[in-house]
Amino acid sequence: MPRLGKMERELLRGAVSKPATVVYPATKRGLNIPKGLRGRWEYAEPAKCTGCKICERVCPSGAIEMIECRPEDVKTKTGYRPICHFDRCTLCNQCVESCPRNVLRLTGEFEMAYLSREDMVIY
């Protein structure tokens, strides 16, 4: 019987084992999402925010913009609050780290496809 070379056993084992890939949109089981994943940006605790603009200054990609607080927002000390243009965000986590009052957070959410840029502005 002709031999298949060094990979013979591996190939035969592969023929009967279950697939290594995950049928992703149908199921999320087996994706192994770790706890500290850097995902979608979130303005987590508006009540703590002072509007100090440090996050805007440190952002390496210019994704964070400080806007004047709208009527529905929690009023900050300086009257400004951050919003994130998520199309520019590189998920580096620097804004979260630099924030002196732990206002911002990167959540574990990783499904971040949108149809337009307007949808990607996170308030």
Partner: protein
């Protein structure tokens, strides 16, 4: 033909451009091969399609922002650029970072090396048409990708380093999981080492292909596994260790991996054995990691200084030359990525081989086009090679356009 005269057939010289978009490699790079029949007699490497102006952009960013910008020079070795820049800024500021931060930084570098080498192995299998092994290696690469993701929170851009240390700790409850992952990787890598050496499908395609002699490798300044596959002992981890490589090398357990085969097979063996060594290094780092803080506060304004930071990236020696001027922004940052140093030797390596072997020879230096932004010009007439920086290119281009105006006015 009834003539009895002996006919000498000289095949015509044909110039074949491979690229910029080509089937062999996934990044833009143009190789102009002059061939006679099936033999490559001359090769010209044209790169620079990926010039993005990162160095200029870095001059207008703060050091902290540059960490993320430089990590994005290259997707595969992002940890090396990120860590080496952090190291350069620390050298300039003359601060010492905590011991634990050094160990974590080195751990990420070594995990990055494992994933980069396994990735290369898969690509090499793919280039020689052995796609089965390509898929199996990439399946097992997921083990190390998951490890990196669980430490740093991102699969590709780990961004673990900051000026003065690292940003995330490696929690103690993660260590057993990492060790288990390393055990699995070691078992798989030992198997792939056997596949590389004993599987004829691969070995027969790479043995004796793409010869790079030791003296040529030295003369053309090859670095990394390309040089070590030609028996040139250059490895910054051993020659000029920094961070946690210093205590690691003091143990004397690790030796530089060299091969005297000088061909693509030699480079493959060096990479595979180096992966096994990197797994051992990771294990050593996890077992000997000291407790303590992981970062030191460094003031954003860095004193005027001029430093050169070196690190052994998966592809070879990476150099960051940094000039600081007392502000929080760099005066000048120059990145010499390892692929850039390997182009010259590759132009030599291509000559005298078959055209069908060109993809694997190109892939054998593990090229990373994003890292390179200059041009190597090889002259077909007198065998000279010339490194042309972009500003010289610009001057030449201006001159040429002046002599050849596009439209008559």
């Amino acid at each position: 033909m009834t003539s009895t005269e002996k006919r000498v057939v000289i095949p015509p010289r044909v110039s074949i451009p491979i690229g910029p978009q080509h089937p062999a490699l996934k990044e833009p790079g143009m190789f102009k091969l002059t061939i006679e029949g099936e033999y490559i007699v001359d090769a010209e490497v044209n790169i620079g399609y990926n010039h993005r102006g990162v160095e200029k952009l870095a001059e207008s960013n703060t050091h902290i922002q540059n960490l993320y910008l430089l990590a994005r020079i290259c997707g595969i070795c992002s940890a090396t650029h990120n860590g080496n820049y952090a190291q350069a800024v620390e050298f300039a500021a003359e601060v010492e970072i905590p011991e634990r931060a050094k160990y974590i930084r080195t751990l990420i570098w070594e995990l990055d090396r494992i994933h980069s080498h396994i990735l290369w192995l898969g690509v090499a299998f793919h280039e020689v048409g052995f796609d089965t092994a390509f898929m199996y290696t990439w399946r097992d690469r997921e083990v190390v990708m998951d490890m990196l993701e669980s430490i740093s929170g991102n699969r590709v851009h780990h961004d673990m380093n900051t000026v003065g240390g690292v940003r995330r700790n490696v929690p103690d409850e993660l260590v057993p999981r990492l060790l288990r992952g390393l055990d699995r990787l070691e078992e798989r890598m030992k198997y792939y080492r056997d596949v590389v050496i004993y599987e004829k499908t691969f070995w027969d395609r790479v043995a004796g292909v793409g010869i790079l002699e030791t003296d040529v490798a030295k003369r053309t300044g090859a670095v990394g596994p390309t040089a070590r596959g030609s028996n040139v002992p250059v490895d910054v981890r051993f020659n000029d260790p920094t961070q946690a490589y210093i205590p690691m090398m003091d143990t004397g357990d690790f030796e530089m991996v060299l091969s005297d085969r000088c061909d693509v097979a030699g480079r493959s063996v060096v990479r595979v054995v180096e992966t096994l060594q990197a797994i051992d290094m990771c294990r050593w780092l996890l077992q000997n990691m000291p407790d303590g803080p992981i970062r030191e506060r460094v003031r954003p304004r860095i004193q005027p200084n001029e430093v050169l930071a070196r690190h052994e990236a998966p592809r070879g020696e990476l150099i960051h030359y940094l000039v600081t001027n007392g502000t929080d922004k760099p005066e000048r940052i120059k990145v010499r990525a390892p692929t850039h140093a390997n182009w010259v030797s590759m132009a030599h390596t291509l000559r005298g081989n078959y055209l069908a072997d060109a993809p694997i020879i190109l892939a054998a230096i593990d090229p990373c086009y994003s890292c390179t932004d200059r041009v190597v010009i090889v002259d077909a007439e007198d065998d000279t090679m010339e490194l042309v920086p972009l500003d010289v290119m610009r001057v030449r281009a201006n001159k040429w356009y002046k002599m050849h105006p596009r439209r008559e006015e």
